[in-house]
């Protein structure tokens, strides 16, 4: 049991920080520009694929730097030549633009790298066991992922809170018109934040693509989860995004470990014998194992938060 708890904690910490890398950029973009960027997880996918391609040429370490740079440039271009153009048609058009973009990016990835996943490997220099605890081993690469994502969180926090650029970004989160009136180039800042956010998603792709899997469906798998994170955490709140990322990954990781269903509970308690005679969907509901609910829980949380507490955990204003 202790083994299960320890490793579930460690794994969910790693996965949660990866989610945070993805959602931190998204939450800034969302609260600053009001754009629900459907293509954000697609930048994560581009990061993974570009890193795979670059690492076959020059190895993993240069790819760790090059791939996020490329993704960031793509993101900035998308903002400059796409989003800014549709901005005049209103919020709906912007949303649909990113929705279509996510669709096209997936197809382009299929076009270039094929429908099956690519063999993006963990670098051999990190392919060893960091430590053994009880009977399970903890791979060094997971620790590396954790180090990278935590240090990015610290740098990001420092930049946002302590530097002048961060100050202006924070101001533009809530009052973009006022910041513009004070003489700052708000469109350029939008481009910067969009590019920067995409680059962060790219980093997540580089370090997550080889640990998880690099395939065309990877963007769609995480696409909605990151929305859950920013809504649950609260718009524009970096700490909120951190807490929500960890919360969701804890939920998902721990759910997988429990192989029980309501039926087992009813049987164990030996009350309500009529329940075991339930038929149809009710019978299905009784037999759903906790482990199966992992994929459903985040969306349940999303709907609940939006209906009950639209501000999210740490947000200042409503979604």
């Amino acid at each position: 049991m202790l083994e299960f708890v320890t490793f579930s904690l460690l794994n969910s910490l790693v996965y949660g920080m990866l989610l945070f890398l993805l959602s931190s950029g998204l939450t800034l973009i969302f609260s600053m520009m009001g754009v629900l960027n459907f293509a954000h997880a697609s930048f994560y996918m581009i990061g993974a694929y570009v890193a795979y391609q670059v690492s076959t040429w020059v190895g993993f370490w240069p790819a760790l730097l090059i791939a996020p740079g490329i993704v960031g440039i793509i993101g900035a271009l998308v903002e400059r030549y796409g989003l800014r153009k549709v901005h005049q048609y209103g919020q709906l058009a912007e949303l649909l633009f990113t929705f279509g973009l996510a669709f096209i990016i997936e197809e382009l990835v299929i076009m270039i790298w094929g429908r099956v996943g690519v063999d993006y490997k963990i670098p051999s220099s990190l392919e060893f066991t960091l430590f053994d605890l009880f009977d399970t081993s903890f791979p060094a690469y997971k620790a590396f992922m954790l180090v990278i994502s935590v240090s990015i969180f610290l740098v990001l926090y420092y930049v946002l809170v302590r530097t002048r650029v961060g100050l202006i970004i924070q101001a533009a989160l809530s009052h973009p018109e006022m910041v513009g009136a004070l003489g700052h180039d708000v469109p350029k800042m939008f481009m910067l934040v969009f590019g920067g956010g995409s680059a962060l998603a790219g980093v997540a792709g580089v370090i997550g693509g080889n640990a998880l899997i690099t395939e065309p469906a990877m963007a769609a798998q995480l696409g909605t989860i990151v929305f859950v994170v920013i809504v649950v955490g609260g718009m524009g709140s970096l700490t909120g995004a951190l807490v929500a990322s960890l919360l969701i990954s804890f939920l998902q990781t721990f759910a997988i470990g429990f192989d029980y269903s309501l039926y087992d509970l009813v049987n164990a308690m030996d009350t309500w014998p009529f329940l075991s005679e339930a038929a149809g969907p009710w019978n299905d509901l009784l037999h759903v194992k906790v482990a199966q609910t992992g994929p459903v829980l985040p969306y349940l949380l999303l709907v609940l938060v939006l209906v009950v507490r639209p501000k999210g955990l740490m947000g200042v204003r409503e979604t």
Partner: protein
């Protein structure tokens, strides 16, 4: 209050004309296009029309962007297929012709449950809640195999004895006429709904919810009613789907079909009642035809959608409507030459794009990437320079020429507009 909302629409007689033409078209189509393929295509178009129009009740009429509309069509379909199985076991005395109605009631039932959750919010939160709901169903459907049938879905058999008309619906054409009549009925009802006080109020809530509540209507209540009705018609489309395909699986509830109906409606145009019909026709044809010719059909589909978002946000119906005054003034002949030029140059660009995309798909997806690719009767070798250079030069040349001709179109358009304004001023 409701009596003060009056229909300022055009006189009734031409309206009747349009509906007669619509009914006649549905009736006569299978006699002109008799092949099995085209009749099944028409059935598919009918289902898509109902689905897209029901979606536009939310997006176009009510200003509610939903990412989960396929949930209602899917649930309607599942309820209809279970009903169909009950009918064939003789436990449910309903004729087959009324099966879509059962699907519709199912859609309305679930619409009222989820509408209760969604409709208190508008804009982005609304869209996010629908996104949450669709993902809930997509990931949760497999947990309930007795209703959703697991991976393989639930199937039924439409050839049952209990029918009103005496047809046994064994042939494609009988199914087409059943779907066609339901399509006509649903389209008519949805059009009439836009003329009702509720339909008008939905427009008011879309344009300015605060003002709507000032004159005494609760915006979330209006949105809720609109949502339930929209769920009803989506469920009806699900029932029609069951009659046509006799099987439905959990992937009918997912984000992909929900995005699909969004594409259809938006490409057709949300601002006009005809828009979603145009979109449904175009996209259904594209889907069924392109899928035979190219692996990349989804990419073309996405590119078309993006082009519409960037350059024609009003959709196809908007493109038609802005030409109405030009057509009436008899000035189309002034625009046509520049349009033809833009079309020709656009085709050069498009040709380059097609070659580029097809070669790439061929190299990364086909079983034999080394084998030459046949395109428009031409044979190309993906590893030689010729097709690549052709594609890239077509792309660059086409883009350059197209930008030039777009300027021409704009200049001509301005000139025509000046003439029309002068004419109206003279009157």
């Amino acid at each position: 209050m409701s009596s003060s909302i009056q229909n300022p629409g055009p006189s009734k007689i031409p309206c009747y004309g349009i509906w007669c033409v619509f009914a006649l078209t549905i009736m006569l189509l299978p006699f002109f296009f008799t092949s099995r393929f085209s009749i099944s295509l028409f059935s598919q178009i009918g289902i898509s029309c109902v689905f897209a129009l029901s979606y536009n009740m939310l997006l176009g009429q009510g200003g509610m962007l939903s990412f989960g509309h396929a949930v209602f069509m899917g649930l309607g379909g599942f309820i209809a297929v279970h009903a169909l199985n009950l009918i064939s076991e003789n436990t449910l005395p309903v004729p087959l012709e009324l099966l879509p109605l059962i699907g519709g009631l199912g859609g309305a039932f679930f619409g009222s449950i989820f509408g209760y959750l969604c409709c208190r919010r508008e804009g982005t939160p609304f869209a996010l809640i629908t996104l949450g709901i669709v993902e809930l169903f997509a990931s949760g459907a497999l947990m309930f195999p007795s209703f959703f049938g697991g991976e393989e879905g639930v199937s039924g058999n439409r050839m049952i004895k209990n029918t009103l008309t005496g047809f046994d619906f064994g042939s494609e054409i009988e199914v087409y006429f059943l779907i066609g009549s339901w399509t006509f009925l649903c389209v008519l009802c949805m059009y009439l709904q836009t003329q009702t006080p509720l339909g008008r109020l939905a427009n008011a809530v879309r344009d300015n919810p605060i003002r709507a509540s000032f004159i005494g209507y609760n915006p979330s209540h209006v949105r809720f009613l609109q949502f339930v009705l929209s769920g009803f018609f989506a469920g009806t489309a699900g029932g029609l789907f069951i009659i046509r395909y006799e099987i439905i699986a959990y992937d009918a509830l997912g984000l992909v079909p929900s995005g699909n109906v969004l594409f259809m409606t938006y490409i057709g145009g949300v601002g006009h009642f005809m828009g979603p019909i145009l979109g449904a026709i175009l996209i259904s044809i594209l889907q069924l035809v392109l899928i035979h010719y190219t692996e990349a059909w989804q990419l073309y589909f996405g590119l078309l959608f993006m082009a519409m978002v960037l350059w024609a946000p009003g959709g196809l119906s908007w493109l038609l409507i802005v030409h109405q005054p030009v057509w009436k003034a008899g000035l189309m002949s002034k625009l046509l030459p520049s349009y033809l030029q833009a079309l020709a140059t656009g085709l050069i660009f498009f040709l380059g794009l097609i070659i580029f995309i097809e070669i790439n798909y061929h190299l990364s997806l086909s079983i034999e990437p080394g084998a030459p690719l046949e395109l428009f009767g031409l044979v190309m070798d993906g590893h030689s320079v010729v097709p690549w250079s052709t594609a890239i030069s077509c792309l660059i040349l086409g883009l350059w020429l197209f930008r030039h001709s777009v300027k021409m179109v704009a200049a001509q358009w301005d000139a025509v507009m000046v003439i029309i304004t002068k004419k109206t001023l003279e009157r």
